[in-house]
Symmetry: C2
Subunit: 219 residues, 2 copies
């Protein structure tokens, strides 16, 4: 039995949903952890992940829940090798992982609920400065990502050649974040092109935040 | 010829220095990128990493510089397998990567120079609130790390059994960050024990920030 701890708006969980769908894994159970209600700080989820962050994944056979989206996706790639989400060569793998980390480490952790809450409650930062904070870090990573994707010869239909990889999964989560915070992505044409190519793939489309239970209905 | 772009205080570069030393790789060239002077934003380093962040590593045979500490360390582990920095089993690898990401993704990116600069210049946040910001995110990750390390049966002399792994490299960088920001680590005894065990190993000791060129002399 497989279990995914999820919330529609969690961009890190979105990444794992895409990876699961690409691998053909349909979780037996989806446990909703409502981040807007603070469920991640409750006792039930505290026992799952003391970091109080989504996602968490329990694989067939049980064992401790796996946490951290990139660690879960690498695990899925090792235990369900088809289709591979990393290139076969170490240099290609380093490139894909570095693109993924520009998003998953250098950008996304700056706009998660706990950080926005700290800005509001501890620093008294009003709107629109809190939203501008999120936009700034989304844009910073998108600009660097665009520079690399537009300039590096390994870029193809997708971030790395013509095959979907971990980098595309992270790119798409970042573009969804840009949508949530109304960041204009017109200055990032390569990023947009790849995101559009991905969103035509059912595994990406069906995993999108706005297609999950609890999501607001799109206008 | 191998080149490491480095700065004594960069905790992400510290991680790569430890991995290089464990693998017995001595970079042929060290290029100092002075983060306190803003060298990371200059044209020379912009061509190396459009994200303007350390570290970067050029391997024998040249090619584009590799960036992002965790991607570089995984690359080193794949190209120089001894000693391995990840366990052999997928579940163990997922655990080690998740511990590493709690630090390298969920904590450290919140206290890098570009974030502290934004807090100061864009938000006008005075001291000591900027330092308290850093301390808060260091403590949050250390507390969750302590919970996991103290509670999970896989913890041994090191984070995962009795062998050094990527998780220990990240743990040690986090403890060094705690030192920089004067965070009391007494509440995190397992973290402290593992950090002390690591610091007795020459690869860790010689890579320490305060032993790099340009570092202030320890009191």
């Amino acid at each position: 039995m497989t279990t995914l701890y999820s919330f529609w708006r969690s961009l890190a969980t979105y990444r794992v949903r895409v990876a699961l769908a690409l691998k053909g894994v349909v979780p037996d159970e989806i446990v909703t952890v409502d981040l807007t209600r603070g469920d991640q700080h409750g006792d039930a989820f505290d026992a799952v992940n003391p970091m109080h962050a989504l996602p968490a994944f329990v694989d067939d056979g049980g064992g401790a829940p796996l946490v951290q989206s990139l660690a879960i996706i690498e695990y899925l790639d090792e235990t369900r090798p088809e289709p591979p989400l990393l290139p076969p060569d170490p240099r290609g793998r380093a490139r894909v992982r570095s693109l993924a980390l520009m998003i998953a480490a250098d950008s996304h952790p700056l706009m998660v609920p706990r950080v926005r809450e700290y800005l509001e409650r501890e620093l008294g930062l009003p709107e629109p400065a809190r939203t501008e904070w999120c936009r700034h870090w989304i844009r910073t990573a998108l600009a660097a990502l665009e520079r690399r994707l537009a300039g590096e010869p390994e870029t193809g239909r997708f971030c790395h050649g013509d095959t979907v990889s971990l980098a595309d999964i992270c790119l798409v989560s970042q573009v969804a974040g840009a949508g949530f915070f109304e960041v204009d992505t017109v200055a990032f044409p390569t990023v947009r092109r790849i995101a559009e190519t991905c969103s035509a793939i059912e595994a990406f489309a069906s995993a999108h935040p706005l297609r999950q239970p609890g999501a607001p209905t799109a206008a």
